[in-house]
């Protein structure tokens, strides 16, 4: 799959490129609106990460152009402008998702997974890890065919870890994913622990081995090999 990163900050651009390469994309990069236009004019991309505040114009211009020619392309807007109007405008113009800077890479990965699956109409939106089956669209989790009853928060934690499998997920990224960035971090981090405790208990009651590994002082990691159905 082909991806385009349009971001004027070179370090961030580089970082995004690396992340996408890890996800097996072939990646092109643009640092200005003009470069972006040129690249989009020449090629069709499956995914475009688009910064709005570009030095030579508003990224929304590029979004319009992409949506005009390639309806299939998934566009995720990245912006430091936490402005709702921008978000609404972007979504109206056909962007598939919106991330406010600074975001966790894990969040971006989860969002990309979600939008790509939605875009390419993968109807069986389920991920199987060992015997653990997780539905990405509905709150359904089962282990070895036996359903596990999770709360919404526990489901969100597990889905996030599954979408970011084999990656360390920091507690702060997890808190942000569940409660949004409005929540007071120092206050919310403690709650991650209690939710995680409950989740682990439910998983082990269902007979699952220790899937979630604690990375001491940092966060959690779900180590597994995905087998998609």
């Amino acid at each position: 799959m082909r991806a385009l990163v349009v971001e004027d900050e070179p370090l961030l651009n580089e970082e995004l490129e690396e992340q996408l390469l890890e996800e097996q994309f072939s990646v092109d990069c643009a640092e200005t609106l003009q470069e972006g236009r040129d690249l989009v004019a020449g090629d069709e991309y499956d995914l475009v990460l688009l910064d709005l505040g570009l030095p030579d114009g508003n990224g929304l211009e590029l979004l319009k152009m992409i949506k005009k020619y390639y309806d299939e392309t998934v566009v995720v807007i990245l912006t430091a402008r936490g402005e709702v109007e921008d978000k609404v405008k972007g979504l109206e113009l056909g962007s598939d998702d919106y991330l406010a800077k600074p975001f966790a890479m894990a969040e971006l990965r989860a969002r990309i997974h979600a939008v790509l699956r939605r875009r390419f109409k993968i109807s069986d939106n389920e991920i199987l890890i060992g015997k653990l089956l997780l539905n990405l669209n509905h709150m359904e989790v089962s282990y070895g065919g036996k359903p596990i009853d999770l709360t919404e928060t526990e489901y969100k934690i597990l889905r996030y870890l599954v979408l970011n499998k084999n990656k360390t997920i920091t507690r702060i990224a997890l808190a942000e994913h569940i409660w949004g960035s409005k929540i007071d971090d120092r206050f919310s981090l403690d709650f991650i622990n209690s939710h995680m405790k409950n989740l682990r208990k439910k998983l082990s009651e269902a007979g699952a081995p220790e899937l979630i590994e604690t990375v001491y002082g940092v966060g959690y990691k779900l180590e597994a090999y995905e087998t998609e159905q």
Partner: protein
């Protein structure tokens, strides 16, 4: 006291003082003149009598017998008894009766002196009635004073009108100043005036207002730009730290922990930056306030978002929504304000406590109240709770951790100001804090 009243009053007081002094002065002056005149008159009589007696000594008897010189004067001539030095004139004002059949005594001016007729001395007393003279002098005095008094009153009324006219531009300026609540909101100009001082004042005010306005705007813009510009580099820091963390199996604990702290700090800094950005956007009025916002609905949504924390802290929630309340404003901002208030209440509530949220009020005052059972508002913060970067140290120590950006309630304040809502925080009796919004 108003300036023009003050000037008028001091004018009046001064006029009255001058009036009183003038009255007293005039009284003595007139009296003096009257007595001088009387005395001259009496002396003239004496000269007349001496002339008469010297020309015709026999007429002395005649004069003694007649006694009177006119209707207001009379003469007494008695043999010399030594009470008066010969050849001296002594004047006195006495109250006496002219003849025993007069009912009341009157004031007379008396000249007591001596005359010699044929080498024999006689006491000569000449009396002249003062009343007639005094009547004239009093009439003059009173009419002059009445004129003065009328002048003072007229001056007062005229001054009032004139001052009002002259000071009108000054009062306009003062009234305008009074209505300014926020210098950035004020875009009127103080007008030019034909009075030099007021013109100087207005020009100085115009200059100052412009300065204040532009520095306020600069400051707000600066905060907005700075917050915005910070987000991209913070993004990079966060992602680089995350990258280190993702190789957790190759690194030792110390490195991991440091990287984690870098990341958490970057996140906190970006939250701070975002909060500042939001506040300055609210203060810069970059939000439309044209939505109808259902307060109860927003509150329910906030409670749902915070439900995890409420459940895990075992907090019992008491809701009293006695009415449907819809206010005009910005949904996102009102949500944000209520979110911050409720989040604070949840944050400061001890395990198992209860939080009461009420929405009620009469026809005029719709109030939204959040009452918690936490430690309450620390004394030191009273009055400045809604200011930026004010944190309850006592509170945070009690909870053993730093809490938040310190911008939550300041955001609530700017959102309320933008919408024209009232906001208030107070301690409940016993324990806990109560935050009230008034729509």
């Amino acid at each position: 006291m108003k300036l023009n009243n003050k000037i008028l009053l001091s004018n009046l007081v001064l006029s009255v003082v001058i009036f009183v002094l003038t009255s007293i002065g005039m009284y003595y002056l007139v009296n003096d003149t009257v007595y001088d005149e009387l005395d001259n008159h009496l002396l003239q009589h004496k000269i007349d009598i001496i002339n008469q007696v010297q020309g015709d000594p026999a007429s002395l008897k005649e004069i003694r017998k007649l006694g009177g010189l006119g209707s207001y004067e009379w003469v007494e001539i008695n043999p010399y008894d030594g009470t008066v030095e010969p050849n001296t004139n002594s004047f006195a004002t006495i109250d006496t009766v002219r003849s025993p059949d007069e009912a009341s005594s009157e004031s007379y001016r008396r000249l007591a002196t001596t005359i010699s007729v044929n080498d024999q001395y006689y006491n000569l007393n000449i009396y002249e009635e003062v009343a007639a003279w005094q009547n004239i002098s009093m009439t003059i005095l009173l009419s002059v004073l009445a004129g003065l008094l009328i002048w003072i009153l007229l001056l007062y009324l005229l001054n009032q009108m004139v001052f009002d006219r002259i000071l009108t531009p000054f009062y306009d300026t003062v009234d305008t100043l009074e209505t300014i609540s926020d210098p950035t909101d004020f875009d009127e100009r103080f007008p030019d005036s034909s009075t030099d001082e007021i013109d100087v004042l207005n020009r100085a005010l115009n200059t100052m207002m412009n300065e204040i306005r532009s520095s306020f705007e600069d400051q707000k813009k600066f905060i907005q730009n700075a917050s915005h510009e910070l987000l991209t580099p913070l993004s990079i820091i966060r992602q680089k730290a995350e990258k280190i963390l993702s190789r957790s199996d190759q690194l030792d604990r110390q490195t991991l922990r440091s990287a984690n702290e870098i990341q958490e700090t970057a996140v906190r800094l970006s939250r701070l930056s975002n909060a500042l950005l939001l506040i300055s956007r609210v203060e810069n009025k970059q939000y439309e306030l044209d939505e109808q916002v259902d307060i109860a609905g927003v509150t329910e949504k906030v409670l749902e978002e915070l439900n995890d924390f409420i459940t895990l802290k075992n907090i019992s929630l008491e809701k009293e929504f006695s009415e449907e309340l819809s206010v005009q404003g910005n949904q996102e901002l009102i949500h944000s304000a209520i979110y911050n208030i409720v989040q604070n209440a949840v944050k400061f509530s001890p395990e198992g406590a209860s939080i009461t949220i009420t929405l009620n009020g009469g026809a005029e005052n719709h109030e939204f109240k959040v009452i918690d059972e936490g430690p309450g508002i620390p004394e030191a913060l009273n009055g400045s709770l809604f200011d930026r970067f004010k944190k309850g140290n006592g509170r945070s120590n009690e909870l053993g951790k730093n809490n938040g950006t310190g911008l939550g309630l300041s955001l609530v304040k700017s959102i309320c100001k933008l919408h024209g809502f009232g906001y208030r925080a107070e301690n409940k009796e016993g324990a806990g804090a109560e935050i009230t919004l008034r729509f």
